[in-house]
């Protein structure tokens, strides 16, 4: 039964299957995938002769359908790290062939047996200077509606970040965040619920802050970088910035496994990572990449703000993803 359903789905999607000297790379579209194409896929094709077809956006439902139907048309997929950990447990991923992908210089925070880092990012506090008087100093200020009135924007989906921010703002020390005290987090979030505007995607977060629709918010640092590049009048606080990562995975049964591993080696190389970081403002997961980057770019990366930086616990999230999601959406719908 499962097979029939998944087969229908995968059959409908099997439009981008790659030939022998080709492979398919899938990511989230937009400026991120453009940067990945330019920094990784194009140089890789030029040196290896393997053509990289682009597909997207990443869709976990599709990935599962392909693996279930044993008709996998994606060879490398950019996914969130907590999903990758859970997907590996569910048997959806190929192990990484570390004979083909050099491991020594990869940041161990963002790689494991079934995934190598794609890039890492921080949630930072950004604000529209025209809409905020004074400078918010940290997450606690996002919950102080007297001192900082106005709408505040947070990431809409159940994902690492907002729960931790609420707990930090409520005075939980960074090393005591996990296991997450959900009751306490939702109680804290309740105090500003009517002032929250949610953003569902990166472009939306930029639009909200740039227009002043939200005075300040929790943004991906790459989006703050893009706002600054566009000349928007934004301020940013890196205090207690929260790191999370995207990783690259190979779905179980991928047809071009060998080409995929070669692609991973190129994408995680110091040069590939340096180029991507320069184009996107997201941080490299190869520790040697910084040496190849201009100094002013290095300054704007989460790497330059490790003081007080907190790593969101992807293993905890992978384990508790479903139960947190259930409470999250129930709370939002109230």
């Amino acid at each position: 039964m499962k097979l029939i359903f998944a087969g229908i789905l995968a059959g409908l999607m099997a439009t981008t299957a790659a030939k022998a000297d080709e492979m398919v790379f899938t990511s989230w579209g937009g400026t991120t995938q453009e940067a990945q194409t330019k920094s990784w896929a194009e140089p890789f094709s030029a040196s290896s002769g393997i053509k990289v077809l682009q597909d997207g956006p990443t869709d976990y439902g599709k990935l599962k359908a392909m693996v279930d139907a044993k008709n996998v048309t994606w060879d490398v997929v950019d996914v969130e790290m907590d999903f990758a950990i859970k997907a590996a447990k569910d048997g959806l991923l190929e192990p990484i062939d570390f004979a083909a992908v050099p491991k020594a210089d990869l940041d161990p925070r963002f790689s494991n047996e079934n995934a190598v880092g794609s890039f890492y990012y921080s949630f930072a506090l950004a604000w529209n200077k025209g809409a905020v008087s004074g400078e918010p100093a940290g997450w606690a200020d996002m919950f102080d509606t007297k001192k900082f009135p106005g709408k505040r924007t947070f990431y809409k989906w159940s994902a690492p970040g907002v729960i931790e921010i609420a707990l930090l703002a409520d005075g939980v020390p960074a090393d005591k965040l996990y296991p997450l005290d959900l009751d306490r987090a939702f109680k804290k979030l309740d105090t500003i619920k009517s002032d929250i505007v949610w953003w569902g995607g990166g472009a939306e977060s930029q639009q909200l802050i740039a227009s002043g629709e939200a005075a300040f918010g929790q943004l991906w640092n790459g989006r703050v970088f893009a706002l600054e590049k566009d000349g928007a009048d934004v301020g940013v606080s890196w205090n207690q910035n929260l790191t999370a990562a995207d990783v690259l995975v190979v779905p179980k049964g991928a047809k071009n496994r060998d080409a995929a591993m070669k692609f991973l080696a190129a994408a995680t190389s110091p040069t590939g990572q340096a180029k991507f970081a320069e184009a996107s403002g997201y941080a490299p997961i190869n520790t040697k990449a910084k040496a190849e980057m201009p100094a002013d770019v290095v300054k704007g990366l989460p790497d330059a703000h490790v003081d007080g930086q907190i790593n969101l616990d992807m293993n905890y999230w992978a384990e508790h993803r479903d139960e947190i999601a259930k409470r999250w959406y129930a709370w939002q719908a109230k």
Binding site: M1, I8, E204, G212, A325, Y329, Q332, A333
Partner: protein
């Protein structure tokens, strides 16, 4: 001719007609019936055989709220769409054909524009710092921005705008088929314009309203992008919840059950309308 003879002539026609329909039936079977059956099966087998997915959906306050929201939004959108579309359709029905075809072109053109683009345009218009609020505040009519977005108001405005063509088109057809002499006759008999509308025009246009209304209602039930962008989290509709279950939580059993409940309720409403309005009228036959 006897009754038997009539049937004798009529019977061979049915298989012949069916034969011609066969390709269409296979197509519908393959692309509609089989997937729906697969959906139903998955909803009672994933992750384990049984009705636990339905129990989880129907026994939980959050899901109940989402179901309620879905039907509330669809109903409000349908009513507002009818109210806005009727005068437009009437104008299109009675104006000179050349002018009407230009207006038709404009209405159809809006349907060809990308849905996401149109929805983002509404965000720019409706938000607190948007065009409408700025203009009203600049003119001194209000001092606080009106809450036009991230709530039911925003969802209704955005969806009515998108649904209008689906209401206007069937309605114009129905209104054009009404003999204008009936209205003149009503006036001659002393009916006020209001009475003529209420007793002549409205009853005669009901088939068009029913056809358009059903289409708008059913399309609204499954709507995704507009409520997600113009609504708040408390306006979440079923389609968005199903997408979450399927795409990000990978809980396909629960998502399938939710989709199947939506399908059953929609079919029940359709059947109800067939009984109330009659099958010909419900599908737009004037």
């Amino acid at each position: 001719m006897s009754v038997e003879a009539q049937q004798g002539i009529a019977t061979p026609r049915i298989p012949a007609g069916l034969g011609g329909l066969l390709p269409a039936l296979i197509l519908i079977g393959l692309f509609f019936v089989v997937p729906v059956l697969a959906l139903l099966l998955r909803s009672v087998t994933d992750p384990a055989p049984g009705l636990q997915n339905y129990a989880a959906l129907l026994g939980d306050g959050t899901y109940a709220r989402v179901f309620f929201n879905t039907f509330l939004v669809a109903a409000v959108v349908t009513i507002v769409t009818v109210l806005v579309a009727f005068p437009v359709a009437w104008m299109l029905a009675i104006m000179p054909a050349a002018l009407a075809s230009i207006l038709f072109g404009i209405i159809i053109l809006s349907m060809w524009t990308n849905l996401l683009t149109r929805t983002y345009a509404w965000m720019v218009l409706l938000q607190r710092t948007g065009v409408i609020n700025r203009a009203l505040m600049g003119a001194g009519i209000i001092d606080q921005p009106l809450p036009l977005i991230n709530n039911l108001t925003g969802v209704t405005i955005g969806m009515v705008y998108i649904m209008l063509p689906f209401m206007i088109l069937p309605l114009v057809g129905t209104l054009r088929a009404i003999d204008p002499m009936t209205l003149r006759a009503a006036a001659l008999c002393g009916a006020s314009p209001l009475a003529a509308f209420r007793r002549i025009l409205l009853p005669l246009s009901l088939p068009g309203i029913a056809a358009g209304g059903l289409m708008v209602f059913v399309m609204s039930l499954g709507y995704f992008v507009t409520p997600a962008l113009l609504g708040g989290t408390s306006n979440m509709m079923l389609a968005e919840m199903i997408a979450q279950m399927i795409q990000s939580l990978l809980n396909w059993g629960l998502g399938s059950a939710a989709a199947f409940i939506l399908l059953v309720v929609t079919m029940a409403l359709y059947a109800l309308q067939l009984r109330l309005v009659g099958s010909k009228r419900a599908v737009g036959g004037a």
